[in-house]
């Protein structure tokens, strides 16, 4: 008995090891997605492994990307072994295991099985919407949720904490050299040299926290009831080869049902499980004291369940997708009339909406945090698509990282020279707030910062008499619109407090 138990134990340990490695790899790819890290085509592999993202992108954009073929690996794994992605590889799944909150959850009953329909509904709606060139629902993809959370909330917060700790330790003379050494190790490789800021960080943290807290209702609540990627892989798993089987040695002790994280082992059906729900975690294999559980190859499809997607559900999903898109398209945001909807260099608006999988790679890659997830600018349809917010950061004239890292070419991967030619907006001066214009005092920061040559901001030397009779000479900035590329460094660096006195807007129609 003892040696057998030991052998089985090794499966769980192996799984946890693989989970840890996959999570670390995901985080490493995340960290070095930033410009100056690893090549964009390498780090975005974590997104290209996601079959839901690649399938919906294929449907919505009607373009085939060779790089998307990486997702076939995940599909092949699923066809052979079932939802191993969910149990062994998915970084969000691993985090849900780490923060399973079992102690707080106690022994409460899981929600009824019919809830499992929700994820299939979400998947079908997502696919239907993708057929109509809409990818809004990709915000529910687990990888995009985790990646966005890491880049927009976790890393900036870690950076702030480290900076405060460093600044505090640096006050102590004996620690100074140690702090310097430590800082040299983490910056710029892991943390940014200058702090990065994102809008609405609490919102993204809240979404992520919600996904974790749902574990209080049932373990892996997200994976069981909501995850559209899990639903896709679950459907494939119905015909997967390797499958769990309970043999005649079963003593009906309930041990396996108790440890199953997705609650798919049904005592009333002879402890059978649904391959579409089983994440192949092999917990039950360990828990069974009677060697009653085996994983064997099968060629027949799994039997259907009450919560499996039906024809009716598919029709409802289709209808929901059409209605949703129609609603989104008729809302004001669809006019693209937001003056600050500044997109990444080279991106075309309708193109971007049907190509962007909302993964946030570009947001992470941007070294100045100029690219932020859109909340208001692009409406509901473009929620969390990348938008350039110049007051948060400027488009670095020496950087083309966002195009390089995008896994789906939602913007073309431009060379640095090409990117420098791209006009993403135009700067306008607010003469009521601009220091030389309104206060007749010296300030040339926008002109100094302007990276194009010949400069797109010119200084006009004027002599004028102020209302109080004083004669002053002051240099007033003017934007030479035909040379302005809208990089936004002028707006970012403008020393006026709050809203800048020079701001970048979408260029006029037909410019």
């Amino acid at each position: 008995m003892a040696p057998r138990a030991k052998r089985r134990m090794s499966w769980t340990i192996l799984r946890r090891l693989v989970q840890a490695l996959a999570l670390l790899a995901f985080i490493a790819f995340f960290v070095w997605s930033r410009r100056g890290g690893w090549p964009g085509s390498v780090v975005n592999a974590s997104m290209r492994l996601d079959p839901l993202a690649m399938l919906s992108h294929l449907l919505a954009s009607r373009t085939i990307l060779i790089g998307s073929a990486l997702a076939l690996i995940t599909l092949a794994l699923t066809l052979c072994f079932g939802r191993v992605w969910c149990g062994w590889l998915c970084p969000l799944g691993t985090l849900l295991d780490l923060f399973s909150l079992g102690w707080w959850r106690g022994k409460r009953d899981a929600p009824p099985d019919s809830w499992r329909m929700v994820k299939y509904g979400l998947l079908l709606t997502l696919i239907a919407a993708a057929l109509f060139a809409n990818l809004t629902l990709m915000i529910f993809d687990p990888l995009t949720i985790l990646f966005r959370t890491l880049s927009v909330t976790v890393w900036p917060a870690v950076d702030q904490l480290v900076t405060v700790a460093e600044a505090t330790a640096y006050q102590i003379p004996a620690l100074r050299s140690a702090v310097s050494t430590f800082d040299g190790l983490v910056r710029p490789r892991v943390l940014p040299v200058s702090p990065v800021f994102y809008r609405y960080t609490v919102l993204y943290a809240g979404v992520f926290l919600g996904v974790i807290l749902l574990n209080l209702v049932a373990s892996r609540f997200w994976c069981r009831y909501l995850c559209p990627l899990g639903a896709l892989l679950g459907l494939v798993s119905k015909v997967a080869i390797l499958r769990r089987k309970v043999n005649e040695r079963c003593q009906e002790c309930d041990a396996c049902a108790r440890v199953c994280p997705t609650g798919t082992i049904q005592p009333e059906r002879g402890y059978a499980s649904d391959p579409g729900e089983c994440t192949m975690c092999l917990n039950c294999l360990d828990a069974c004291a009677h060697s009653a559980i085996e994983f064997r190859p099968h060629l027949t499809p799994a039997e259907s369940q009450t919560y499996d997607p039906s024809r009716r559900q598919a029709l409802v999903a289709f209808g929901a997708a059409i209605a949703g898109i129609a609603l989104a398209r008729s809302s004001g945001a669809a006019l693209r009339d937001h003056p600050r909807l500044i997109r990444r260099p080279g991106a075309v608006e309708n193109d971007l909406l049907s190509k962007c999988i909302r993964c946030g790679e570009c947001i992470r890659a941007c070294p100045t945090s100029a690219i932020q997830p859109s909340v208001a600018e692009a409406g509901l349809e473009g929620l969390w698509t990348p938008v350039l917010v110049p007051r948060m950061g400027y488009c670095d004239y020496s950087c083309n990282a966002c195009g390089q890292v995008c896994p789906v070419q939602a913007i073309p991967p431009l060379s640095l020279e090409e990117k420098r030619q791209q006009v993403i907006g135009h700067a306008y001066i607010d003469q009521n707030r601009c220091i030389p214009w309104a206060d007749h005092r010296a300030c040339i920061v926008c002109e100094e910062m302007c990276p194009v040559s010949d400069k797109a901001i010119k200084l006009e030397m004027v002599e004028l008499v102020k209302p109080d009779g004083e004669m002053v000479t002051v240099q007033r900035p003017h934007v030479m619109r035909e040379r302005c590329i809208g990089c936004g460094i002028c707006e970012y660096k403008c020393p006026v407090s709050g809203e800048a006195a020079i701001r970048v807007y979408v260029p006029p129609l037909g410019w």
Partner: protein, 367 residues
């Protein structure tokens, strides 16, 4: 698992934290020796065997031969070299000593720097054995390579690093905080990183927390600013600006280059001339080497058009930052007093801008 009592828990926590802090301390000791802010009186020459000044005694390992010497307030007052066999240190007396300012023309950048420094009395005049040297070039943006003359010539910086080590410096770091693009990218694209590393120096990325509030006692307008701590505590700061155009200051030269060692730069721009002079009174680089190998004459400070670049093959070196800026202004056809910051600094007595009364040695190096 047995229950931990509170006492056991605290004991283990204490041991763990102690080990962590000890480890940190040890890790730091191997890499860096820096003088603490509380320094011995500036006049007292340190014997060569002096291991460390007050604060540094807390660090257990001190590299043999390293001595922490007082910071010279200006080049002229550099203390005699503590090590026997070093080149004798010249005291800058006006008539017999080295000139106030050296201009080297027409040659490769490294040769220009070497000849200029030799004429100025050698780097040994500024560097003593074991000195912690910071070289501050102008790496203001990450946009262009050195040909565009927005950033200091890499070979000029490299030559200075070499000269410092040849004079016995213990540690030479090169740094700037660019306003456009990230420092790592700027260091790379400027070409400076390659030359500095090849010469054995280090590129330091300037993190936020090292900009600490500093009083500027002599400041007339700017009385307080966040200044890079290491720059204030280095044994020697060498200022290596590139001569170029600037929309407000007209030219960015030595004093304008010091904007790179402070944070909160946009706020400097009203009354820029006086504030730059105030900043100079606090930082006081002991040596300024103006790189005019290539000059940017328009669309500065960012540049980007080779038509705005003039190849001058000139290097200006002086312990007097005001004199160096004054002479550099003439390369652009301007008078020293055309620059607000030169005027303000002259009035504050930070240096001399009366070029006709300075002893200036001009030399042709030849290619």
């Amino acid at each position: 698992m047995s229950q931990l009592t509170r006492k056991q828990f605290l004991r283990r926590l204490g041991a763990g934290l102690g080990a962590l802090i000890g480890g940190w301390l040890l890790a730091g000791c191997g890499t860096e020796q820096e003088p603490m802010p509380t320094q011995p009186p500036a006049a007292a020459p340190q014997p060569p065997t002096a291991t460390a000044s007050s604060g540094a005694t807390a660090l257990p390992t001190v590299t043999a031969g390293e001595s922490v010497a007082p910071t010279p307030t200006r080049g002229e007052t550099a203390a005699p070299s503590p090590t026997v066999g070093e080149a004798p240190v010249a005291t800058a007396t006006r008539s017999v000593g080295p000139p106030d300012l050296v201009v080297a023309r027409g040659g490769e950048p490294e040769a220009l720097v070497r000849r200029a420094m030799a004429a100025l009395g050698g780097m040994e005049r500024f560097v003593q054995r074991g000195y912690n040297v910071i070289i501050k070039p102008n790496i203001c943006v990450a946009y262009h390579t050195y040909e565009y003359a927005a950033t200091t010539n890499p070979w000029v910086v490299g030559a200075l690093v070499k000269l410092c080590f040849e004079a016995g410096a213990g540690r030479v770091r090169v740094m700037d905080s660019p306003f456009g693009g990230t420092p790592e990218e700027a260091y790379l694209r400027s070409g400076i990183q390659e030359q500095v590393l090849a010469a054995g120096g280090q590129m330091e990325i300037m993190p936020q927390f090292k900009f600490v509030p500093a009083e500027i006692p002599e400041g007339l307008d700017l009385r307080r600013k966040d200044i890079y701590d290491e720059v204030l505590n280095a044994d020697l700061v060498i200022n290596v600006p590139i001569a170029k155009h600037h929309g407000l200051a007209r030219l960015t030269l030595g004093m304008k280059n010091l904007m790179g060692v402070i944070s909160g730069r946009p706020a400097m721009h009203s009354n820029l001339g006086q504030r730059l002079a105030d900043l100079t009174s606090r930082v006081r680089p002991a040596l300024t080497v103006v790189d005019a190998v290539r000059m940017l004459v328009a669309n500065g400070p960012t540049g980007g058009d080779l038509d705005d670049v003039r190849k001058m093959d000139t290097v200006i070196a002086s312990p007097d930052i005001v004199a160096a800026d004054s002479f550099a202004a003439t390369l652009f056809g301007l008078q020293p007093m055309d620059l607000d910051y030169v005027r303000a600094a002259t009035e504050m007595g930070l240096g001399r801008s009366d070029l006709s009364n300075l002893s200036i040695e001009e030399m042709a190096v030849g290619a």
